[in-house]
């Protein structure tokens, strides 16, 4: 039930220094917000990691995840190897995942995956358990930046799954502008020449980020004036551009010319373009690497194991299975979202022809991370404001 986790979380957070006030005037503990210049260690109190050397449970391994976010082949291979089965429960949005975790998190053994803006509340809310790295020999394969990330110092609770940037994609056979050469590539999303032809990602963070990045503002801002300006910019855009909002834009490549999109999706655009159109007709730019050097999002999704999971050893084994370089490569060939594994480099991906050469700029290296920004945890009241603005802008579409 929703109320159960709150008192314990409130008690934990009350120990933290900062406090905010609710509308009713009663003090509400502040959620520590991880930032690159303010790394956070998630607390381990009544939820220690599992002991070393345990045998995998019989299963089934119950996964709470985005639809189809691990290749079926990889899941089947795991099932065969551990003589178990995998049950997959889908969530559509990160907020939905948090709701499901809070109401019945122990029903699942593994979350695939958690976005960075939710790691803190799951950790401080004691909804996830620490990882026991002795079950994760392949953790050594992940990029150094994720061995001890700022949002989970020591990677005590999380292991990285995928990395991706959020940029602009376009049909270069229908869009004449040289978008990478533009001073502000985000302007193309508001260009009336493409009214009815522009697609934006749906989600309170990504949609608002389109405006915040265009303004050159912080994508994690809590400044009401900046947010109001972003809202107005989005409402003007909605009125003038009639944007389409969704995150399955790969199915609409024949209909929309300009896309705010994730690099991970672009790699499978080649399979969804209108018949007869070569993939060279599609281009992608990540603004920090364009001429104007505007800010852009680069981020990663992480695995986490719910507190009270019935098959935690199997869950560890699955994380390790996916982080295995050969499995990660096979998984990537289908999923399109790049694994942060040291042996899987842009060169190896291009050599294996997993990504078309004209879209090599969707590939990410560890060195790209300092160039970009991440959508990070917000104070609850600010988070609610983001969601209200998002709903006002999209109308729930």
């Amino acid at each position: 039930m929703a109320g159960i986790a709150t008192p314990s979380l409130a008690a934990i957070l009350a120990a933290c220094a900062g406090k905010t006030s609710t509308q009713a005037g009663s003090p509400t503990p502040a959620l520590p917000l991880a930032r690159p210049d303010n790394p956070i260690s998630l607390p381990i109190q009544d939820n220690p990691a599992i002991a070393d050397g345990l045998q995998p449970e019989a299963g089934p391994l119950k996964i709470l995840g985005y639809n189809d976010y691990i290749r079926k082949f990889i899941l089947n291979k795991f099932s065969d190897q551990f003589s178990t089965s995998v049950d997959w429960t889908i969530f559509d949005t990160p907020e939905q995942m948090v709701q499901m975790m809070q109401s019945s998190g122990s029903n699942w053994d593994l979350i695939v995956s958690v976005t960075l803006e939710n790691v803190g509340k799951l950790g401080f809310g004691h909804l996830i358990q620490p990882l026991n790295k002795s079950y994760l020999p392949n953790f050594a394969n992940v990029w150094k930046v994720f061995q001890s990330p700022f949002y989970d110092v020591g990677a005590q609770f999380t292991a990285p799954y995928t990395v991706y940037s959020t940029g602009i994609g376009w049909r270069n056979d229908r869009v004449s502008e040289d978008i990478p050469a533009m001073d502000n590539p985000y302007d193309i999303l508001w260009d009336p020449k493409y009214t009815g032809q522009v697609h934006l990602l749906n989600g309170s963070r990504d949609t608002l980020a389109a405006a915040l990045l265009r303004m050159g503002a912080d994508v994690n801002t809590s400044d009401p004036a900046v947010l109001d300006q972003a809202k107005q910019m989005l409402l003007d855009g909605v009125a003038a551009m009639n944007w389409k909002f969704d995150h399955t834009d790969y199915s609409e490549l024949g209909t929309f010319d300009v896309h705010q999109t994730w690099s991970g999706q672009v790699s499978y655009y080649q399979y969804y373009l209108p018949k007869g159109l070569p993939i060279t007709a599609f281009s992608y730019v990540w603004p920090p690497k364009a001429a104007g050097k505007k800010p852009g999002i680069i981020t990663n999704d992480v695995f986490a194991i719910p507190k009270g999971a019935k098959s935690p050893v199997l869950a560890h084994k699955m994380i390790d299975h996916v982080l295995d370089p050969s499995n990660a490569a096979v998984n990537y060939a289908y999923e399109g979202f790049q694994p942060p594994i040291t042996s899987i480099t842009p060169e190896s991906i291009l050599a294996d022809e997993l990504v078309p050469k004209n879209l090599s700029n969707i590939l990410i290296t560890e060195e790209d991370f300092p160039l970009g920004v991440q959508e990070l945890e917000l104070a609850p009241a600010v988070n609610q404001l983001y969601q209200q603005i998002y709903q006002e802008v999209t109308g729930g579409a």
Binding site: A2, G3, A5, T6, L9, A10, L13, T22, T28, P29, L31, D92, T93, E95, Q96, V98, Q99, Q102, S103, K121, F124, G125, G196, Q197, S204, V238, N242, W243, K244, F245, D246, S251, E252, G254, T255, F256, P274, P380, N383, Q384, Q387, Q388, Y390, Q391, E392, V393, T394, G395, G396, A397
Partner: protein
Amino acid sequence: MPEGAGSGSRGAWFPSWFWPSFAAPATIWLLLLFVLPFFVILAIAFGRVDPIFLTPSPVYNPLRWDFGPFRDVLSQIFAGGSIYQSAFLHTLTFVLAATALCLVIGYPIAYFIARHAGRLRTLFLVAFIAPFWISYMMRMLAWINLLQPNGYVNRILGGLGLANADAPIQWLNGKPLTVILGLAYGYVPFMILPLFGVLDRIPSSTLEAARDLGAGQVTTFLRVTLPLSRQGILAGIIIVSLPMFGDYFTQTLLAGTRNTAMIGNLIVSSIQSSLVQTGASLVLILLVLLILPMLYYLRATAKATELVAR
């Protein structure tokens, strides 16, 4: 058979609770799957929100309910230009237009099958309904293919000289007309079936009597068939429009823009975000609005039954 056994009246061998017990499954069903969930919606709409997770904390004691958030949503519906008001207006417009379209399409089909299809009536009925055995989602996805810029609809219109091949009609880019057509297509069989049922039951002798009294075909239709099929029309309108009011999927697939957002879209997006309390409030407001046409239908049906009984 003992006297009164079939009616459950006094003197039957059944105990007094026998016949009322037949209502038990439906009563339990309603309690578990309507009354209880409805109370949970009330508890969420008038409850609290977790200050950190922003998830709903239902309050089950009505004495502790907080009506503030509900009032906020309600006031925004009446605030000019708010998204809530726009969504309600879009929904009302789309549902009225799509229901009218269903009636215009469904009535002639039902009339034809009931009165003129002869021995082939079952075949025609099945033929008209058969496409709807395919899932709603699949049919909407099929429309996406048909309505794409280079899809068959534009090609046919281009062939007829009604569309320019170089500037094809962008049906899927947030056009209200596309949503209305999608809704009408999705729900039209639910209009045909009740109309067919009513039209099929109009005795031929009644129509012949009208003709014998000098009425022409048009007059017979307007003075006899149409009034006698009123209950079918009302039932069809209710059956078709109620689910349309809560529909969100059609808009999402065929438009997906703010300019076509329906109230169902707002409810779904609220529930999938941290605005669950807003979603619960919208559900309650929609429910109250839908009770009005339902009450009208029940009153009209009761009056019609009364007339028949006289």
